[in-house]
Amino acid sequence: MGYKKIKKDQLNTFLSELSKDYTVVLPSRSGGQVVFAPWDGKNTDFLDWYKNTIIPPKALFFPPVEEMFRFRKGEEGYEIEELMPDKRQQIIFGIRPCDARALKIIDMLFADTYKDPYYLRRRENSLLVGLSCNEPCDTCFCASLDISPGQSEDVDILCTDVSDNLLIEAISEKGSNLLSEMSGLSDAGSEEESKAKEMRKSAKEKIARQINLSGLQEKMRSNFENREYWEKASKKCMACGICTYVCPTCHCFDINDENRKKEGKRVRSWDSCKFPLFTRMPMENPRHEKWRRMRQRYHHKFEYYPMNFGTIACTGCGRCIRECPVNVDVTEIIGGI
């Protein structure tokens, strides 16, 4: 199927059509921040200002707090009430290429030996409509991680903003099926296609930040015991949870039972290896000092994840750099090894 297009000021007809069968979630401004929220049925002005969200799209599949099930002690043991996510189909509209890749990366973990039903059900019921980046942020370094800001294999449909039009391209079969049912789209001409190509190229060229990955895993292994390096690297860190919570691939969680008399619920919530109390509940946190915890985060992303799943668990989205209160920069830390 070739490229389709729609006039940007007609986008809401396209979105309305999608909204018939899906809940459409897209970037919106709420309470002073940019978040993915259900579409209000009117606004499409995000095309003018949207760069990316602070809370990554992983939160749509792996929410910060999730009730897993409720339990009640009855006459004959415990009664369990399942709380699986509902089957509603949703479209994430406007996800960035880096964040779509991030979902691919954490899919490997959530669908590993243990299949996480909560995450996977939401994933199965979702369709990703990507929006390529024309103006990367100063903190973006996706290009170093083999992600192109203008392209994506990790979405179902990809949109590219070319002046007055949105160029629409089916990537997956799911995406192609959906597009063939849509009525408000017209075929794009070769002029628009070449314009899109140009924009993609220039977006990639605009990315100035880089990370050097050559021989990295080897280097990291031999640097592991270099306490001086890690102490220096972590000196200014405040040991908060920002970098892990805003990271689209960080996935650690904690599980708690909340009991009141004879009933209760099991809740899982995000957890962070940057906290001194991390893993303290089941056992002990072997990483008492801050430098060990910082080392863990980077080794997990750039050494252990590649060992386990064959891919680095960083997409270069730059959120951790931008949001860190003391500007700890992953590209500096990895680059310095």
């Binding site: 309470g31 921040q33 602070i54 910060p64 103006e135 100063d138 949870g241 919570y245 899982r268 003391v326």
Partner: protein, 316 residues
């Protein structure tokens, strides 16, 4: 100022008067600085003083072993003095390098004023009372006094009160208290259900990253009550009610210790207006006990001390 700082910092390290210098370096994000902590003379060249030195560095002395030469603005010096009052930091262990401060730029305000994305900005220069913001092919001038943090509007002590070396000449306070308290006053005028709705919305956003607590120099408990699980005070995950309780208890715990440095609000990744709570508490403490945080290192901390004249209307 910057040159004087480098000169003094080098001297302190060379003469062995301090083990580390804690100051500001150039950040890796546009128009932000980053803490620079070093024991090496060759790093000193990287120290900067500019209108973007937002971090309050006084959290570091309690954590880093050894003697420190530390750079502070007016508000930060009060955090440091408060820590000295609380015996958390020994005065003899630090050499205070004071920065007389005209205010620090709040990037969010700047972005609003210029109506452009920060990524489009190439350069910002301070010329007198103006900031010249250079973008691709265009230039905008904004009034410096319009884009500084709310706390800076009401700053009564822009020149550090406690220092060993003052890096420039004293700055006279701007004290536009009304502007500084504007948001809080507006807030007080709305009715209780509206206020409740507001905080519900705010704390529904909280992701419990604890950055507000971890960057705060006044939050120095070895084990914070939220980390105590036997008994558990609040759930480790965040319902908005628990998030609110966390913040309210934190506000009470830092009462009389908060210098209105604004680090909690600046650091909060989801933009919760935390300073309103903290600043309100500053007003309360001043109103009730006529006490200001960190203005006198020899004064007893307000809540460790009893005066016969202390108000006690709350005892019924």
């Amino acid at each position: 100022m910057e040159n004087k700082l480098k000169e003094e910092a080098r001297k302190l390290l060379k003469e062995g008067k301090v083990d580390y210098i804690v100051g500001y370096g150039k950040g890796t994000v546009k128009f932000r600085t980053s803490p620079l902590i070093t024991n090496k003379e060759e790093d000193i060249e990287g120290l900067v003083i500019n209108p973007f030195i937002a971090n309050n560095l006084s959290r570091y002395p309690a954590e880093i072993k050894g003697k420190l030469g530390i750079v502070v603005k007016g508000c930060d010096s009060r955090s440091l003095v408060s820590l000295i009052q609380d015996n958390k930091v020994k005065r003899d262990d630090i050499v205070i390098l004071g920065v007389p401060c005209e205010g620090v730029v709040d990037i969010k305000k700047l972005v609003e004023q210029i109506g452009a994305d920060i990524d489009q900005v190439k350069e910002i220069d301070k010329e007198g009372d103006n900031l010249i913001v250079k973008m691709d092919g265009s230039k905008k001038t904004v009034l410096f006094g319009d884009v500084i943090f709310d706390k800076c509007f009401g700053c009564e002590y822009p020149t550090p009160l406690e220092y060993d070396i003052l890096l420039g000449s004293e700055v006279s306070p701007r004290v536009e208290l009304e502007k500084s308290l504007k948001k809080i006053k507006e807030f007080e005028d709305i009715n209780a259900p509206e206020r409740w709705r507001y905080w519900k919305e705010q704390f529904s956003k909280c992701i419990r990253c604890y950055a507000c607590r971890n960057v705060c120099p006044a939050c120095f408990c070895e084990r914070c009550f939220v980390d105590v699980n036997i008994p558990q005070w609040i759930t480790t995950y965040g319902s908005w009610q628990d998030n609110l309780v966390f913040q309210l208890i934190r506000t009470l715990h830092v009462a009389g210790r908060c210098s209105d440095c604004g680090e909690c609000e600046r650091s909060c990744p989801v933009g919760i207006t935390l300073r309103s709570l903290q600043r309100k508490m500053v007003e309360e403490v001043k109103g009730l006990f006529n006490y200001e945080t960190g203005v006198d290192k020899d004064a007893p901390p307000v809540f460790t001390h009893y005066e016969a004249t202390d108000p006690e209307e709350f005892i019924k």
